[in-house]
C-alpha cells in the first residue's frame, strides 16, 4: 500500500477518538492504518480492501461470532481486546476445529483515549499472533459520548474441522466422564475484584487464554470419543452442564471434591454470596468423553500448560429429569441448577 501523508501524526499519547474517526474520511483512514494495521499487521489487511479473500483447505468450516462488552475494559490477566480474540478462538476450537481467521468490529465512544485503544489493539494483535490466527478484516464506528461505555468489540472467527470429527451435545451417553481443564471461576472473580462498587484486593487473575492447542492435543488423543466440548463462560460450569443435560436427555453426577477451585476464588465467592460453579471462565473447557478413553484424554490435557490442573469431576447418568447433581464434600447431595437472573452484568 502506498504510504499516505497525513497533515498531522496520530497523537497516540494524548489524543482521543472524535466523531471524525468514524466518519469515513481521512481521519478514519489514519486511525485504521496508524493503529489497527500497526497492531494486527498482516498481508490481508495491508491490501486495504473491504473484504479479505483467503484459501481454505479441505474439510468442513466452522464459524462463530461474539460481542464483547466487558466492564471494566482492563482487568487482571487481560483486557477487552485479548478477551475478544481468545473468546472467539475458543468458540471455534470447542467444535474441535483449528481456528484460522478473525474479523473485528469496533464500536468506540467519542472521547476514548488513543492510548487505551492502542493498548487494546496491541493486545489483540499479540493474542492473535500467539495463537497463529490472523485478524484479516474489520470495521470501526464511533458513537457520541454517552451512547456506548467506552468500547464494544465484536469478533467473528472461522476455522477448519478435521475429517470425521462432529462434536455435539446429543452424542453424550450414560457413563461418559466429565473432564474440566482447570480451576473454575477465575475470570469472573478477577472482573468482580475490579468493579468500581465492589473492588477488593486479591491476586486473582483472569484465565483468559486461547484453548485450540489444548483442544488439538485432546482430539489427537481421544478423537471421536470426545462427545462434546464447551467453554463454560457466562453462567459457568452449572449453565453449561445443564445445557448439555437438556440437549442430550441425560443427567450428570459430580463430585464436589474433584472440582478444582482456587482458594482465593472460593473466598471471593463466599464473600459475595456466589457459587463458583456459576462464575464465568474464559480459558477453561469442559469435555464429555467416553469412559474408556477418559484417562487418555485427561493425560493429554495435563500435558499442556493450560490443562495441567485438569480433573475428572463426574459422569453422565440416566435421568429423565436431566438434573445436574453434586455430592458435596460434606457427604450430602444437591442440585447444581442454572444461574438465576443476572449474577454480574457485562462479564465478557
Amino acid at each position: 500500500m502506498r504510504a499516505t501523508a497525513y497533515q498531522r501524526k496520530l497523537d497516540i499519547e494524548n489524543g482521543r477518538v472524535d466523531l471524525s474517526h468514524g466518519a469515513g474520511g481521512r481521519a478514519m483512514a489514519q486511525l485504521i492504518s496508524g493503529l489497527f494495521h500497526e497492531a494486527f499487521g498482516n498481508e490481508w489487511l495491508a491490501r486495504g480492501n473491504d473484504q479479505a479473500a483467503f484459501d481454505v483447505g479441505a474439510g468442513r468450516m466452522v464459524m462463530t461470532t461474539d460481542g464483547y462488552v466487558v466492564s471494566p475494559l482492563f482487568f487482571p490477566g487481560g483486557n477487552i481486546g485479548s478477551l475478544a480474540v481468545h473468546g472467539t478462538i475458543n468458540d471455534v476450537a470447542m467444535g474441535g476445529a483449528r481456528p484460522l481467521y478473525l474479523s473485528a468490529s469496533f464500536i468506540i465512544e467519542e472521547g476514548f483515549r488513543f492510548s487505551d485503544l492502542k493498548t487494546i489493539a496491541d493486545s489483540m494483535g499479540e493474542a492473535a499472533r500467539a495463537a497463529g490466527v490472523y485478524i484479516i478484516t474489520g470495521d470501526t464506528k464511533v458513537v457520541e459520548r454517552g451512547k456506548a461505555d467506552g468500547l464494544f468489540i465484536s469478533t467473528t472467527g472461522v476455522g477448519v474441522l478435521a475429517d470425521g470429527l462432529d462434536l455435539s451435545a446429543e452424542k453424550a451417553r450414560v457413563g461418559d466422564r466429565v473432564l474440566v481443564s482447570g480451576s473454575l471461576g477465575d475470570h469472573g472473580a478477577a472482573i468482580m475484584s475490579r468493579r468500581q462498587n465492589l473492588a477488593f484486593e486479591t491476586e486473582i487473575v483472569s484465565d483468559s487464554a486461547a484453548l485450540h492447542d489444548l483442544v488439538a492435543l485432546m482430539v489427537a488423543a481421544g478423537g471421536s470419543s470426545i462427545r462434546v466440548m464447551r467453554d463454560p463462560t457466562r453462567g459457568g460450569l452449572a449453565a453449561m452442564l445443564n445445557e448439555i443435560a437438556h440437549q442430550s436427555g441425560l443427567g450428570f453426577r459430580l463430585q464436589e471434591e474433584a472440582i478444582p477451585v482456587k482458594p482465593a476464588v472460593a473466598a471471593a465467592c463466599e464473600l459475595l454470596g456466589l457459587d463458583p460453579l456459576h462464575v464465568a471462565n474464559e480459558g477453561k473447557l469442559v469435555a464429555i468423553v467416553a469412559a474408556d478413553m477418559a484417562d487418555a484424554v485427561l493425560a493429554a490435557m495435563r500435558g499442556h500448560p493450560l490443562g495441567c490442573d485438569a480433573a475428572d469431576i463426574g459422569e453422565a447418568v440416566a435421568d429423565s429429569h436431566q438434573f445436574v447433581q453434586l455430592s458435596t464434600s460434606f457427604g450430602g447431595g444437591r442440585i447444581v441448577d442454572w444461574l438465576l437472573g443476572e449474577q454480574l452484568p457485562r462479564i465478557c
Binding site: 462498587n197 465492589l198 457459587d275 447433581q325 460434606f330 444437591r334 442440585i335 438465576l340
Partner: protein
Amino acid sequence: MEFCGGHTHAISRYGLEDILPANVRMIHGPGCPVCVLPASRIDMAIRLAERPEVTLCVYGDLMRVPGSQGKSLLSAKAFGADIRMVYSTLDAIRIAEQAPNREVVFFAIGFETTTPPTAVMIRLAEKKWLKSFSVFCNHVLTPSAMHSILESPGIRNIGRVEIDGFLGPAHVSTIIGTEPYEVLAEQFGKPIVIAGFEPLDMMQAILMLVRQVNEGRHEVENQYSRAVTRKGNRRAQEEVSDIFELRDQFEWRGLGLVPHSGLKLKQAYAQFDAEKRFAMHEVRVADNPACECGAILRGVKRPVDCKLFGTVCTPEIPIGSCMVSSEGACAAHWTYGRFRDYQLRRA
C-alpha cells in the same frame, strides 16, 4: 426449625439433610428479609422509583422480588426508573453526594444485622448535610417473628407442628446477643441454640438441640461463641435505638401482620424518612390464596404440598415469599433439593 435464611441456604447447599438422622427434620423458618417483605412494600418502592426526581438505591437481591401486579424493581428500571444496585450503605451515600439535585432514597431492609449500617448511614448523611437523601425503612426484628411462629392468631387456621427447638440466627445475634431469646425459651419451653453458618457449626448446634430435647431442657445455648455474646454489640444497639423506634405492627409476607416486629425512623430524623418525605402510603394486598407460605414457614406443610410449587411458582417467577430468594424454603428446595422428591417417589 432454623430461623435464618442463611442456615436454610447452607443446609441445602451442603446437602445436610442427607446426613441427618431420619428423626431429625429441619423446618425452614422465615428468616430471609427479602422473602418476607410484603408485596405492598415493593409496590411502594416501585411507585417511589417512578417519580422523576428520585434515584432509588437497593441491594441487588431485591430487584427481582415481585410486587402485587407482578411488577418488580427490575422491570421498573427497564421502563426508565432510576434504580441503582448498591453493595453497601456507603455506595448510596456516595451516589447522594455525586447527585445533590436528585432525591436519593436508600431502600433499607433486613434484620438486626443490617439495621446498624443504616443507622450509621443516617448519621453520616446528617454530618454531611445531605439535604436530599432519605431512607425507606423496612427493618424487621427476629424475636417478634419467632414469637409469631409459636403463637399468633393465624395458627388457628393453619394448624401447628410441634417445633422441638430452634437454631438461632448467627449474624443477628452478634448484634442483639443471646439474651433476647431467653424469654422465648422460657415462655414456650423451647430450646434455642445460636448457630454459625458453616456446615460444621450447624451440625454441632443441631446436636446441642437434640441433647437439650433428650434431657428435657429448654435453654438458650450459644454454639457460635466465637462471634456472639450474651449482651451483643452494645454500641450498635445504642446507635439503632437512637435513630429507630418500634412500629405498632409490620406486615410479613407469609406471616401477615406481626405486632412490634418492624422499625421506623424517630420523629427527630423525619427529614431522612422517605415515607414522610414523599407521603408514601401502604396499600395492603392479599397474598395469593393458593399460596401455602404461611403453613410452610411454620412447618405444617412442605414445599411440595403446595399446588403452586414448581408449577406457576418457581425462582424465575416467584409467587410466594418462600420462593422469592434462594434463602427461602421453597427456593432452596427447588434449586438444590428437588431431586429428592423423585427419589422418594421411586422408593
